[in-house]
Symmetry: C2
């Protein structure tokens, strides 16, 4: 038997109104997911406020991520990564629609109960 | 204050005889690292035999990863990822030297004691 690796750039969803989430790993309080954004942004006034740690890297496309405690959004290009500590409020101000924007997110719950 | 994201493709080591490991996150039993390979392979007869879970994705370059229980190595290209369960013996048979090969590895210890 030969294992085939899966490729994160393949099996992209058809263009959609919604962001697409694909769970790649989820066990022991750690969840790894691919997020495909095609122009979506957080709703006006919405802030993510998570009680777990998230490490996130942009893999393709471009996006602007804003932390509430910063004055400006941060432009993400492929390879850019950031650690989002629990309760640090943040939002996605913009994502590139075409070609799609791909993120790799690692969600870490230190209590081992799983994120999400 | 404006946060700047770090970029995983930047600050590469100068060419080296050794693989280069950069820890991006390490807490609560989860360690995320970048590995830069420039032609290195596992020594003949050597198998990694880890008691933790590793999720690994190739980000740049190319490599061949062999599982002991497979008959052939798997060719990895950027975006290819695989889950290596505990005690599944594996080795790196080859990595592209130039341009360098970059991996993102997420090591997960379910006992929360940290990998490595």
């Amino acid at each position: 038997m030969m294992d085939e690796a899966l490729n994160i750039f393949e099996d992209l969803p058809h263009s959609s109104m919604e962001e697409n989430f694909a769970v790649l790993f989820d066990r022991g309080g750690v969840m790894i997911e691919r997020i495909v954004s095609t122009g979506q942004a957080s709703p006006p006034g919405f802030w993510y406020d998570q009680n777990w740690t998230e490490w996130v890297m942009l893999l393709a496309g471009a996006a602007r991520l804003r932390f509430e405690d910063d004055t400006e959004a941060v432009l993400f290009r492929p390879g850019d990564h950031v650690l989002i500590t629990p309760r640090r409020r943040h939002r996605i101000e913009w994502t590139q629609a075409e070609p799609p924007t791909l993120w790799l997110a690692v969600h870490i719950r230190e209590d081992g109960k799983g994120a999400g």
